[in-house]
Amino acid sequence: MADVLRVENLAKSYAGKAALSGVTLSVASNEYVSLLGPSASGKTVLLRLIAGFEKPDHGSIHFQGTDVVNTPAHERGIGFVFQNFALFPHLTVYDNIAFGLTNRVINPMTDAHHVRDRVMAMIELVGLSGLEGRGVHQISGGQRQRVALARTLVTEPRLVLLDEPLGALDANLRMRMRGELRRIREQLGVTFLHVTGSESEALAMGDRIVVLDNGKIGQFDKPDHVFNRPISPNVARYLNCYNMFEGRLDGSVFVAGPDRFDFSNRMNSGGRPAYAIRQDLITINQSSAYANGETGLKAKYLASEYTGAAFMYFFEAADGHIIEVENHLSHRSAQTLEPGKHYQLAWKISDALVYG
């Protein structure tokens, strides 16, 4: 597969503070890449640089084989879908979608019939039929999202950048639009680069996931690899499903304050040593003995939260930091725990990840 986008050593800083430094990544054609990062990790900056709204301090951006760093945004042909949709407030749904076709500098369409065919086909594809004459304030949030998407897709860009496109929608709609986005992308065969702050959205949407960590690429891999084997403590943290311990390595034992954990999977990440265990791989026991191949710690039970298909239990370790345990109700039944009482948390040594 040819690379649609190749970004090399990209850097950008604002008022001396680096927003991005040394970002290098390649995105293949007909691929859905999600870009996960906490707020201020530089994910929006990266999109704005690729779109051409801002200039990088250094580095190169190759789009379909040519360096576009000095090409103005309106000549790049890279689509951009804004979080707040940024629809043209004075135009109808139809005119919003037709805007790019008739107003672009490169190869504008002048034949009203051709424009109409293209726009109506796109309206059909995104499911807005019958609404083309409405003003953009007369339609719902989900419909506005579709207009924003259609307005970009109708110009047939090879690459579409989506800046938290589902962030302005309510939860129910967000779930539906996830499926819609994937369907529309597959039908058109374009490449999507989708920025999100939600790990579940990133995992669900992307063929591959980029995790941004303080203006650098933390990890770029398939969702299951990122989820099961985050390559650094920060990536594990951003996934929001790992309990992290800081401490030091002592032979084959990880020492975190008063607790000592055995481990078998060590990853050389170079930074400060850290120990990670996924929230749903921990069992809560009344007894104090570990089964063979298990390790763990004693922790004080604080509270629980019912999330429908699962229970989240919150514990406090001896050093005061909070440990979360996720109990999927399809595997295990809900446990009745007494707040303030100490329980033994146990997990398989082979499930834990150790960095350092």
């Binding site: 779109a51 042909g77 890279i78 689509g79 951009f80 940024a86 043209f88 107003n103 672009r104 970009t152």
Partner: protein, 294 residues
């Protein structure tokens, strides 16, 4: 009736009376100082005017005098002409300024500071601002001195002062800020992402200006145009001070007639001016639905 019921009845009474109490001072003020004077003006315009006194005997003589006099019809035409020219010139000078302040200056504090700068001339009185143009535009004024010093002209340009041109220059400077303010306000409200979206879809700056920025600033243009129109149509001081009384607008006619105690005739001109202003404002409001846009 117990005390709780009494209280609730009282609060209900207060609630129904409150809107009237709130509107009363304003309504009374408008009735006394706007509605009544306008009604009186219309009424007086039909009174009988003799050289030294005016009597409430209804006649259309003053109206006939206005429409049969070339001087007065010329004043009406001058008023309309100056209004249109000043409207266009304030727009030409004001729109780019507003575009810069409202859209190109990204820093909100700086753009507010620039708007305040536009208002600084208002710290001095209106008449001084008008009269200050005399030493600028006069035969031996600043502009002629500079032009001659730079050898651009050999003779002083006399057409600069005491002509219609000087009135237009003066009015444009005085009223421009009323155009800049509302336009800059509307431009400042445009979501920057909307302009970026248009760029991303491939449109050039001029295309974006024509299809997105200008239409979205239209309410500001209309509000500015209404401000400028109402003030220019009622002008007399600038015309008198900068034209050497050669340019007569309807406002100047009213001043002269009131000065010679011709109340009925002044009232006729006043009614005509009011009708013109009403028509102009109504026409502008038809172009843009301000209630929807603001």
């Amino acid at each position: 009736m117990n005390s709780a019921e009494t209280a609730s009845v009282q609060s209900a009474e207060i609630r129904t009376k409150t809107p009237f109490l709130l509107i009363a001072p304003g309504a009374l003020w408008m009735l006394l100082f706007l509605v009544t004077p306008i009604a009186m003006m219309v009424y007086v315009s039909f009174w009988t005017q003799t050289t030294f006194k005016i009597e409430p005997i209804l006649t259309t003589k003053s109206w006939e005098a206005f429409f049969s006099s070339d001087t007065y019809l010329a004043a009406l035409w001058t008023t309309l002409r100056l209004w249109l020219i000043v409207l266009v010139s304030t727009l030409i000078v004001g729109y780019p300024t507003a575009l810069f302040v409202g859209l190109f200056v990204k820093n909100k504090t700086l753009s507010t500071a620039l708007l305040v700068l536009c208002v600084i001339p208002f710290w001095t009185s209106f008449l001084i601002r008008v009269l200050a143009w005399r030493p600028m535009l006069g035969k031996e004024g600043a502009i002629n001195i500079i032009l001659q010093a730079l050898h651009i002209t050999s003779e002083p340009i006399e057409a600069l002062l005491f002509t219609e041109l000087s009135v237009i220059i003066g009015m444009t400077q005085i009223y421009c800020v009323f155009m800049v303010g509302p336009i800059a306000f509307m431009l400042g409200r445009i979501d920057p992402n909307v302009i970026e979206a248009a760029r991303d879809l491939g449109a050039s700056f001029w295309r974006i200006f024509r299809t997105i920025i200008f239409p979205l600033s239209m309410p500001g243009v209309i509000v500015g145009a209404i401000f400028v129109s109402v003030m220019v149509l009622g002008e007399f001081a600038t015309a008198a001070a900068l034209s050497g009384r050669k340019v007569n607008m309807l406002g100047n006619i009213i001043v002269t007639q009131v000065g010679s105690l011709k109340w009925a005739f002044a009232a006729v001109v006043g009614v005509i001016l009011t009708i013109v202003m009403g028509a102009v404002v109504a026409a502008f409001l038809r172009i843009v639905d301000l209630k929807r846009e603001l």
